[in-house]
């Protein structure tokens, strides 16, 4: 949007800002405080962590987008940057949009070369004030963070009572700290009120749009899904950005799965020696009848591939949660990407193909986590829940999760002792029902259920073979089995718009940016249809949607157009209908990028990067 229009537009509850700090200095709690305060004021907001692969001392940022319209995608246009890290002053100052603001610690002079005359510098002597008011280096550093939160409260018109309430909650167990935190908030707040024209045009105003919502990251919600699905065995090897998933699972289990009297725990978590072992534990547990899962990321998927093939061929239910990060190799562990789409779809050597679920936000992560276990047991195969760092580690506003107590898990075709007793002979891999799914038995249940599970060639009777026909029979059934899951995985999310002739097709966390881009395009006269793939193998609706549009823009976050390739391989759609829109630098996708790419391809001039309000006349808006 042009600067002039931005100046004129009502920016209340519609802006983005970010806070640049040094990691390991405790700024996360101050940033969380700010984010939560906005949320509690009833205003839709999203928080993104942009952090280094490091423990202490490197630059880190927290980005908050406030959107009264509920848009959740990352925006790279910052109206305000809080620059608390001198090491990134130059970069932070350069990133403020013209007409925007830079809040910095004025205890020390700002480097003159960095100054810009098209933005407003708001200097607050945070360091100086905290040195004066607090004792001890650590406390001073921590309170400086709280003090910038106070300054923001004044500048953005945050509700101080909300902030005080949160501080009280946070330090309920350590009441001594409440006073100092109040004090720090006031230091920043009072200084800003006294020296600046508060609030700024970018400001907050209480709404009522978040009361049915929560702030949650997708690793937490996926972990909760595992708990609600009845998973009892979790195995893992720590890896960014999936680690917090197992941390959350453990926390929830300690709370919900521990007998308050005996202390006995109905879960088992194995921190394995590597991802190979983690996968093995999951496969072993699945074989023995427990619902088991492992959270990991791309490098872990590479290591687990051997066991994934075994689980596919020996037909062992197992759930793999892939929180994607930037690859290849070690890549950028703390940046987001959708680079594992192709890898998980056919993970392992030989002919393999897997059921994959692609959530777009933490709400879907929860529900799909539950579904993953049902699918794994119904189809007796590995199931992948593929999210990414953006979903997994960032703070999303999602509708409160609810649970239907009538839910009964689908444990699949498992023969119990009585059933085994009745049958004459049990053959593990026989297609008794003609649906490609054989019957399973669990160890220890009945002598008749015993069979020899193996990753080597086997017959439908479960015996070893090197015979071409016997081998092929099982492989063909497996093919039918996995393909039949296409109608059982979550169907694609589709939104059709009046008059649309082209379509945006996407996957996972690109969802927010793509739907916002669709709004941007429509507000400027280009309605587009929308489809987001949510499950693999692809439902027939996917092919039908692609065929119904001459031009499908396939929007995804990887270099090699992995979703597009998968669509081409699996649906045999005419390649001319698919056009890639790719962004893979490691940041969550923005609507402006998607709209810009589409507009360029269509030969349109779409300069606006925000949705034009419907009621507003375009001409009249420009002063």
């Amino acid at each position: 949007m042009s600067d002039a229009r931005l100046e004129q537009a009502d920016r209340t509850n519609d802006f983005a800002f970010k806070i640049g700090t040094v990691n390991g200095t405790g700024s996360a709690s101050a940033n969380g405080l700010i984010m939560q305060a906005i949320f509690r004021m009833g205003i839709p907001c999203t928080g993104k962590n942009v952090f280094p692969s490091n423990i202490q001392g490197l630059p880190t940022w927290y980005e908050i987008r406030v959107s009264r319209d509920g848009y959740s995608a990352r925006t790279p246009e910052f109206d305000l940057i809080v620059a608390m890290n001198p090491a990134t002053y130059e970069r932070d100052i350069a990133e403020v949009r013209p007409g925007g603001y830079l809040l910095h610690d004025s205890s020390w002079p700002m480097t003159k070369e960095f100054l810009r005359d098209d933005i407003t510098f708001l200097g607050v002597p945070l360091g100086e004030m905290c040195v004066r008011e607090f004792k001890g280096a650590r406390v001073r550093i921590l309170m400086k963070n709280i003090a910038y939160a106070g300054a923001l409260a004044a500048l953005l018109s945050m509700d101080l009572d909300v902030i005080r309430g949160m501080i009280q909650e946070k330090f309920a167990a350590k009441p001594k700290l409440i006073g100092s935190n109040y004090k720090a908030i006031e230091l920043g707040y009072d200084y800003a009120m006294e020296h600046f024209d508060c609030p700024l045009p970018i400001r907050l105003e209480t709404m009522d749009a978040t009361s049915d919502h929560v702030l949650m990251d997708g690793n937490t919600s996926a972990a909760l899904g595992c708990v609600y699905a009845g998973a009892t065995v979790g195995a893992w090897y720590p890896i960014t950005p999936s680690t917090s998933l197992m941390d959350a699972f453990k926390r929830f289990c300690e709370r919900f799965r521990k007998d308050s009297e005996t202390g006995e725990r109905s879960f088992f978590i194995a921190q394995a020696e590597d991802e190979l072992a983690a996968a093995g534990v999951v496969v072993g547990a699945g074989w023995a009848g427990a619902r088991a899962f492992t959270p990991t990321s791309g490098p872990g998927i590479s290591l687990m591939s051997e066991f994934i093939g075994l689980a596919y061929y020996a037909e062992v239910p197992s759930v793999f949660v892939d929180v994607q990060r930037v690859g290849p190799s070690t890549g950028m562990p703390t940046r987001t990407q959708q680079g594992d789409i192709a890898a998980v779809a056919y993970a392992s050597h030989g002919d393999t193909k897997h059921i994959v679920l692609f959530p777009a936000n933490p709400q879907e992560s929860f529900h799909m986590a539950v579904e993953a276990f049902d699918l794994a047991e119904r189809f007796q195969t590995p199931v992948f829940l593929v999210q990414d760092l953006d979903i997994g580690m960032n703070d999303w506003m999602i509708p409160k999760l609810t649970w239907d107590d009538s839910f009964a898990p689908d444990r699949g075709k498992v023969l119990g002792a009585a059933e085994l007793e009745r049958i004459e002979k049990f053959y593990r891999y026989m297609d008794v029902d003609g649906d490609g799914i054989p019957y399973r038995s669990l160890p220890g249940v009945h002598p008749k259920g015993a069979y020899f599970t193996r990753g080597s060639g086997h017959t439908s009777r479960g015996t070893y073979t090197e015979d071409a026909d016997e081998y092929t029979e099982v492989m063909d059934r497996l093919h039918r089995k996995i393909d039949s899951a296409a109608s059982e995985v979550p169907s694609p999310a589709i939104e059709m718009r009046e008059g649309a002739s082209v379509a945006l097709v996407t996957i996972g966390s690109c969802d927010g940016a793509v739907r916002e881009a669709a709004d941007i395009l429509e507000s400027q006269g280009v309605p587009v249809d929308y489809m987001r793939a949510r499950g693999f193998p692809f439902d027939t609706l996917v092919r039908e949607f692609l065929d119904a549009h001459e031009l499908n823009f396939v929007v995804e976050q990887n270099r090699d157009a992995q979703l597009k390739r998968l669509l081409l391989t699996e649906t045999e759609v005419d390649p001319a209908r698919l056009h890639s829109v790719l962004d893979y630098g490691g940041f969550p996708m923005s609507a402006a990028f998607v709209a810009g790419e589409v507009a360029e391809r269509l030969g349109l001039k779409v300069e606006e990067t925000r949705v034009r309000p419907a009621a507003e006349e375009p001409e009249g808006a420009v002063a």
């Binding site: 909760l224 093995g280 496969v283 074989w287 427990a290 075994l310």
Partner: protein, 351 residues
């Protein structure tokens, strides 16, 4: 594997065990290993051990990786579930299966390639985790299926079939198990069933990680002059440190108590291991003493066998985890799902 059905012949002179089952009921399919393979003798001893312990066949879980050793679970206890997984990763499968159902008898059969090369890490970590299982390493110092390459347990100077000497230091699984904290460490010889049987039985009844290294000569690739894992070499250099008997709790009253028994150790379930003729300065329940003794005999070029170390403490990974008494795989879903009320309450904490 065989394509010939095994004849249903009952061994003469062997009656039914406490479950009314015969030795035949603990057998598997016909072995496809080479004639004279040490592994087949181990298999025979395993069959005997399960039979004598009267363990219900379907309560046994047979785990293995890849290699000649990994094939052997098919050759014993047909009515047990078996899992022949991937190379060197049997410990992870066993850990997971045991996590899900701790009430089964887990026996893992591995080899020196499977345990000491590709699966060395998994082997070590299964010990650390103290998985309740008997881990049998059929140790022949050679890769059989791929035709005779040295394994990591081959001794320095040991010669291959073509006469090439091994120059790399061996990894000694017994020393490793002792240092990593295995709660039961033993070594047997496939050519000595009399010694092997009580070791297998004690290992199966031991609660925690029981490690049993079995020198099991490869008749095809490593049973020649110059090999240190041959029948002849093992017979000449074998040193049974302490002869042991295993006395199951059920038969204790009727068991004959041999003269000269020096140490009796009661296992977690009340059964006993009797050490006979224990050397004066050796305490099989003291890890350091066991290690020193083992090393000193080994330095004299002896292949030390017997039950070398035993911690009868009777704890395993589930005790560390405080896992509920019902196996996790058998828990009712209602007892695992926190339900809607908890969910609603939880959501308020994310506001």
């Amino acid at each position: 594997m065989t394509y010939i059905p095994k004849p249903a012949v009952r061994h003469p002179g062997l009656g039914a065990n406490e479950l009314g089952l015969h030795l035949r009921d603990y057998e598997g399919t016909i072995s496809t290993l080479c004639a004279g393979c040490g592994h087949d003798s181990v298999t025979a001893a395993i069959i005997q051990a399960f039979y004598e312990l009267s363990i219900p066949p379907h309560r046994i879980a047979k785990m293995s990786g890849i290699g000649c050793s990994a094939k052997t679970p098919a050759y014993f206890v047909d009515e047990a579930h078996g899992f022949n997984g991937v190379h060197g990763r049997m410990p992870a499968l066993a850990t997971g299966a045991n996590a899900a159902n701790k009430d089964l008898y887990y026996i893992g059969i591995s080899g020196d390639g499977d345990s000491l090369s590709i699966g060395l890490g998994q082997f070590c970590h299964a010990i650390r985790r103290n998985v309740n299982m008997l881990y049998v390493l059929e140790n022949n110092g050679v890769y059989g299926l791929t035709k005779g390459q040295f394994s990591a347990s081959a001794d320095v100077g040991s010669r291959s079939k073509r006469g090439v000497p091994n120059k790399s230091e061996p990894i000694d699984p017994v020393a490793l198990a002792l240092t990593l904290g295995a709660t039961f460490v033993a070594r047997g010889f496939s050519g000595d069933k009399q010694q092997l049987l009580p070791l297998l039985k004690a290992g199966l009844m031991h609660k925690g990680f029981a490690f049993l290294d079995v020198i099991s000569p490869c008749v095809t690739f490593n049973d020649h002059v110059g090999s240190t894992k041959s029948y002849l070499y093992t017979r000449h250099h074998g040193h049974e440190l302490v002869p042991v008997d295993f006395v199951p709790i059920r038969s204790e009253i009727s068991a004959s108590y041999e003269k000269g028994s020096r140490t009796s150790i009661t296992m977690h379930d009340g059964s006993m291991v009797r050490f006979r003729k224990v050397p004066e300065d050796y305490d099989p329940t003291d890890r350091l003493s066991a290690y020193e003794h083992y090393r000193s005999l080994q330095n004299r070029g002896e292949v030390v066998t017997g039950l070398l170390y035993l911690d009868p403490g009777g704890e395993d990974m589930h005790d560390d985890n405080a896992t509920t008494s019902t196996p996790l795989a058998e828990m009712a879903y209602e007892d695992l799902c926190p339900g809607s009320e908890q969910m609603d309450a939880l959501m308020e904490e994310f506001r």
